[in-house]
């Protein structure tokens, strides 16, 4: 029986790799930003998969708190990146 921890951690690694590859390959800013966020989601998934302790036990709350912080930081970083992209577009249009 494969453990759920390993299964979801491997999925997280897969998502991280997909995101990382696309971040390096893409040239458009928005595609890169999306890929970077996918990449971050993969890291979150690895954390939470490792925190999981099976059906009966309560999961490890420390990675949960870290990832919760991470989600909020990721969205504010995305907002900043989008604002920078907007500014760049404005400057290019002029």
């Amino acid at each position: 029986m494969i453990s759920e921890q390993l299964l979801f951690a491997l999925c997280g690694i897969g998502i991280f790799s997909i995101g990382l590859r696309a971040t390096l390959i893409h040239q458009q800013l928005l595609s890169r930003l999306l890929a970077l966020n996918v990449c971050g989601a993969g890291v979150f998934l690895i954390f939470i998969a490792i925190a999981y302790r099976g059906e009966t036990q309560i999961a490890d709350p420390v990675p949960h708190a870290l990832v919760l912080t991470g989600i909020v930081v990721a969205v504010s970083a995305m907002a900043m990146a989008l604002a920078l992209r907007h500014k760049l577009k404005d400057l290019n249009d002029e």
């Binding site: 997909i18 590859r21 696309a22 999306l34 996918v38 949960h64 604002a83």
Partner: protein, 323 residues
Amino acid sequence: MTEWLWLFLDLTLILLLLTLAWLTCATHNNQKGVTYFIAFGLLLALAWARLKAPDLALAEAVIGAGISGALLLAAIKHDDDAQSVNKLPSIKLWMVNLLTVALATLMGWGVWHGLELSDGNRLADQVLAQVPESGVTNPVTAVLLNFRAYDTLLELAVVLTAVLAVLTLNPMRKTYVPAEPILQTMLSWLVPLLVVTSGYLLWVGAHAPGGAFQAGALLASALILLQLAQPTAYQAINLNWMRFLLIVGIAVFVSVGLLMMFLNTAFLGYSSSWSGILILVIETAATFSIASALAIAYMGGRPDGWETFETSTSSGHQGGKHS
């Protein structure tokens, strides 16, 4: 039997997550990419629920799928679809592929070995043992607001910095035309409900999944809805108070921390009899800060009259006269 059923469901979820991640990254069409990304966020919320992280599932559903989706859709609205795509030279492409595969193998090996190790003296056990003394019974809230309160304080600082950058870079996006009556009517039900739910999440965070981040994000989504539909009552509101809400989270957090330093021993070292109330106070302030930060992020920049302090105070007076 049930084990196989769970395995089947897990594999389905994992396959869907990987497919959506791939689709999000493979497309060159911005609109499609954003749509896939929103769907990916929703599935991720499902994965958090599966892995017994309901706090995260709530946050992901509101922030990962809802608010980042709104931010991205607003950002790509005026993009032209046709984008020139230069292909990378194949040697670079292969180098990237090689690097990715190597890194993935290394991470897989690390995770495998990490899981093989015996549990030993786990941090989780120490945390769970200390939770009764933290003032709250939800272990995630205890970690966020008590054991690792520094992290959360710095996180609020990061959010504030990002929003300050947004405010500095651009003026506010053009406001939308008022939506049609049916949406306005729905909003007159939905917005109060969102405010109540956000207050509920904030309160319930002490002993069940919920807390400042989820509550703040929900409040922000109410503000974003108002921003989108522009009901008449919302247009009359002066937005100047939002900049005070932006800093109230950090201000209260630091003040409580300093107060504890004078009364007790250390910065943010709560005395255990008061910690429940102090955590609630900090969380309430943080909720308002996160809500206004995300709402301002959605506006895409500063509203009129926020340029400098002088102009803002004068426009504040004008706003007062108008309303």
